[in-house]
Symmetry: C2
Subunit: 122 residues, 2 copies
């Protein structure tokens, strides 16, 4: 498993962490202090900003999990991958997103650029 | 046409510009001074770095053109899109790439994160 694949895994773990304190600690460990996180619905910077986005998504999609959808394509300090929002492991995702993660020389995430490939049906 | 779609069009025009001076002028106009350009084969920063990458690609793929493949998906200050390397307009691409462009508040490209979806056959 490459460093970037591990980073993607740890990133998705944050979205799935139910404990707010553990999420905050994991974000502080994984992200640079001022990292932008920008998807179609949110544009924030820094640990608290990203933490609030995750908390909001977890509140909106209670009981659902974010999992890697497909594989991680990584080179240099950047990775692209899809994630799926699922009701149980391996289920058909109700939403599919696409993120590019960029890391710094220490391997911390310095930016996330997110897009959506499938949005939940109304 | 959104600003970001225009930016993508101007970005692809640079790859297709045969005149090195015109390329350099267009890069200086479109990119911030220290913008990183990182794809699987190149990791550079700034106008001269990106200009050298384009010159190298144009030398390697003489007579071919880069065109938008599909549509531009943009929000906030970021866009994702595929490009195709073609022998003539609308032809089946011999290579397909995928880029995320990020712009600053003035609309200048401040980063390009590139990946490859199809590589030329040996």
């Amino acid at each position: 498993m490459s460093d970037l694949t591990t980073t993607v895994s740890r990133y998705l773990d944050i979205w799935n962490e139910a404990d707010a304190d553990k999420r905050a600690a994991a974000i502080a460990e994984l992200f640079t202090a001022d990292a932008p996180y920008i998807d179609p619905l949110a544009a924030v910077e820094g640990h608290e900003g990203f933490g609030a986005v995750v908390a909001g998504a977890r509140d909106q999609f209670k009981g659902l999990a974010f999992e890697l959808h497909g594989t991680v394509d990584a080179h240099h300090d950047q990775a692209r991958f899809q994630w799926g929002l699922v009701t149980e492991p391996g289920a058909e995702p109700i939403a599919i997103g696409f993120d590019v993660l960029v890391t710094d020389a220490e391997g911390k995430i310095k930016a996330v650029y997110g897009f959506l490939d499938k949005v939940p049906a109304a």
